[in-house]
């Protein structure tokens, strides 16, 4: 059974005469170990679809199943648990908490689910992930002390903190240099291959999308095989 399934999902903003469909009748299966890329122009509905898959935005029609259960039948806390335990988000925009160091930003999602690992294990995991994105020596730096690319790498490392089953990445390499972009993609592939973490990558970069095993194109809210 596919792990994450979108069934004929539509998302409409506004009402009646002014209603705009950002996502129209999209169906998508994301299984364990999948590496899916969704490409499309700005405003094509990629981010909206990602937010629906991630339990952040309720679809107007259709449903999203995770391990066979309807996500949007969950209550607020259960949805939060889904996002905390099973999904790793990489957002399009800078998404670190300014008051916390890089290390603490990684520890934050683990703190929302403290029983899974001991404090020492969480600490070790955070430092390991920072090492994987090349920022082990910047663990105690605040976001304001990091470059945009470094902040993005910290955010990517944070997405893996709770060993999620799905990574939902929205333009994850948008402001990274080529070398770092390659490192990040290597990390996605490594986690995908090593632990079977499914990756859904939203990008407008066709070259980047070419590294995924399955590719889709988003056009005016509809999802098409690429």
């Amino acid at each position: 059974m596919p792990r994450l399934v979108a069934e004929n999902v539509t998302k409409t903003y506004g009402a009646n005469g002014t209603a705009v469909a950002a996502v129209r009748g999209v169906s998508l299966d994301v299984d364990r170990g999948d590496f899916v890329a969704i490409i499309g122009h700005s405003g094509s509905g990629k981010t909206t679809l990602l937010s629906i898959l991630g339990g952040l935005s309720r679809p107007s029609e259709g449903r999203v199943l995770f391990d066979g259960r309807d996500l949007y039948a969950f209550d607020g806390d259960a949805l939060s648990e889904y996002r905390c335990e099973h999904v790793g988000f990489v957002f399009q925009f800078a998404s670190l908490l300014g008051a916390l160091t890089a290390r603490e930003n990684l520890l934050l999602p683990a703190r929302f689910r403290p029983s899974r690992r001991s404090a020492e294990e969480r600490e070790a995991r955070a430092l390991e992930l920072l090492g994987l994105v090349g920022l082990r020596d910047r663990a105690d730096a605040y976001p304001a002390e990091l470059s945009g690319g470094q902040q993005r790498r910290v955010a990517i490392a944070r997405a893996f903190m709770n060993d999620p089953r799905v990574i939902l990445a929205d333009e994850p390499t948008g402001d990274l240099d080529e070398e770092t972009e390659a490192d990040v993609m290597r990390l996605f592939r490594a986690m995908n291959e090593r632990s079977g973490t499914a990756v859904v990558l939203v990008t407008h970069d066709t070259e980047l999308a070419g590294q995924a095993r399955r590719r889709f194109r988003m056009h005016r809210g509809s999802l098409l095989e690429a």
Binding site: L56, D77, E104
Partner: protein, 398 residues
């Protein structure tokens, strides 16, 4: 090993991001709580002083001439120099009243500074040593002998006035030299400025001075009631049977002053309530600003798995930290003020004892709770609005 990242550490970091704002709110809560602690300390100490003064009179019922109840309270509780007299025979009639166990009498003579006596205007109390149970309890140690003619014990302030222990141990009263044998403990009442002599001196004092009480007159009859008997009931019986006397049960003595002081307490309470509303409004304004400023951060926290309860706890922790810190500073400042300003208030200087540790702790606990609660109440509305922040905000980059 790095220090564990806890929610408390997160809250502290958030507060440290805007130090000026945090310090302003801490200071506001601190000022409010210091005012509360100071006012409570003041009220509590004065009330305790009045109650102690009333309680240590050693009598269950006080009998004074009809119409002299107010004057008696002024003398016994407020250092006033007033005299009033009734016939000694009244003491015998009081003794005969049902429920009365013991009686003792006192006669008050007023001195005039620089005229008859070495002491400023004060009350000379002639008392009956045989039956006394009012004066002796205030002596720090027993005299070991009866007061003879020409001998006296004095209240603590009178001792200061005639410089006992420094240059002089004798005082001239109504033209007669008295040798001072002892000093009473500080009572916070009219007893502190009084001078006590045995009643067999009254005749000579009246002859040698300006005091002119009727022959054989007394001012007060102090009554101990039998065990289990209600003093109010005995006081009523005395008033019913002796028309020339007013009787005041011990619980009643000082009630007038306590009632008057209750008004002062209410003024403090109203002032505090207004200041508390102001502080709560300030907390509301500050945390509304904080909530608006952090919409995106909260959205991010929600998106990566924070439940509403996580967000509420974090904000609440920040509010409680600010409230507790401000309250703690206020407790320290208010306690310091109440200790430092004792000399600035006559009513505190004359109080029999400072507040005990238990009272101070209770006031501190109340200050901490009130300051923190006001901060939390002020911040509740912004916290509720923060709780409803949608996690989607972060995806849109708002």
């Amino acid at each position: 090993m790095a220090k564990e990242f806890t929610q408390l550490a997160h809250a502290v970091r958030n507060l440290r991001r805007r130090p000026t704002r945090t310090v302003t709110l801490v200071a506001a809560i601190g000022l409010l709580v210091s005012a509360l602690v100071f006012a409570l300390s003041f009220v509590r100490r004065v009330e305790a002083g009045i109650r102690t003064a009333s309680g240590r009179l050693g009598a269950d019922v006080i009998v004074v001439p009809t119409g002299s109840r107010g004057a008696a309270e002024d003398v016994l509780l407020d250092n006033a120099v007033k005299t009033f007299y009734m016939d000694r025979e009244i003491a015998d009639r009081v003794r005969a009243t049902k429920g009365v166990a013991r009686v003792t009498t006192q006669t008050y003579l007023a001195t005039i500074a620089g005229n008859c006596c070495d002491v400023p205007e004060t009350i000379v109390v002639a008392f009956d040593q045989e039956s006394d149970f009012v004066v002796a309890p205030w002596l720090p140690r027993a005299l070991g002998k009866r007061l003879e003619r020409g001998e006296a014990v004095v209240g603590s302030e009178s001792a200061f006035n005639i410089r006992i222990g420094l240059t002089q141990v004798d005082g001239r009263l109504f033209g007669k030299v008295f040798h001072v044998l002892g000093v009473l403990e500080k009572t916070g009442t009219g007893l502190d400025t009084a001078i006590f002599v045995d009643e067999k001196n009254v005749g000579e004092l009246v002859r040698g001075g300006t005091a002119r009480p009727p022959p054989g007159a007394i001012s007060v009859v102090f009554v101990k009631v039998e065990p289990g008997v209600d003093p109010a009931r005995v006081a009523g019986a005395i008033e019913d049977s002796i028309i020339e006397a007013d009787a005041v049960a011990r619980r009643d003595v000082g009630q007038t002053m306590l009632r008057a002081f209750g008004d002062v307490s209410r003024v403090f309470a109203v002032t505090f309530a207004l200041a508390a509303v102001l502080a709560a409004c300030l907390a509301w304004a500050v945390f509304t600003g904080v909530a608006n400023e952090r919409i995106r951060e909260v959205g991010l926290m929600r998106a990566i798995g924070a439940k509403e309860s996580h967000v509420v706890r974090l904000f609440l922790l920040e509010v409680v930290l600010v409230g507790a810190l401000g309250s703690l500073a206020g407790v320290v400042a208010g306690t310091g003020l109440s200790l430092g300003l004792v000399k600035g208030f006559d009513v505190l200087r004359s109080a029999p004892a400072a507040l005990g540790v238990a009272d101070r702790l209770a006031i501190a606990a109340l200050g901490l709770a009130a300051g923190t609660a006001i901060c939390v109440v002020g911040a509740l509305s912004p916290i509720r609005s923060t709780r409803r922040t949608e996690p989607l905000a972060v995806l849109k980059g708002d």
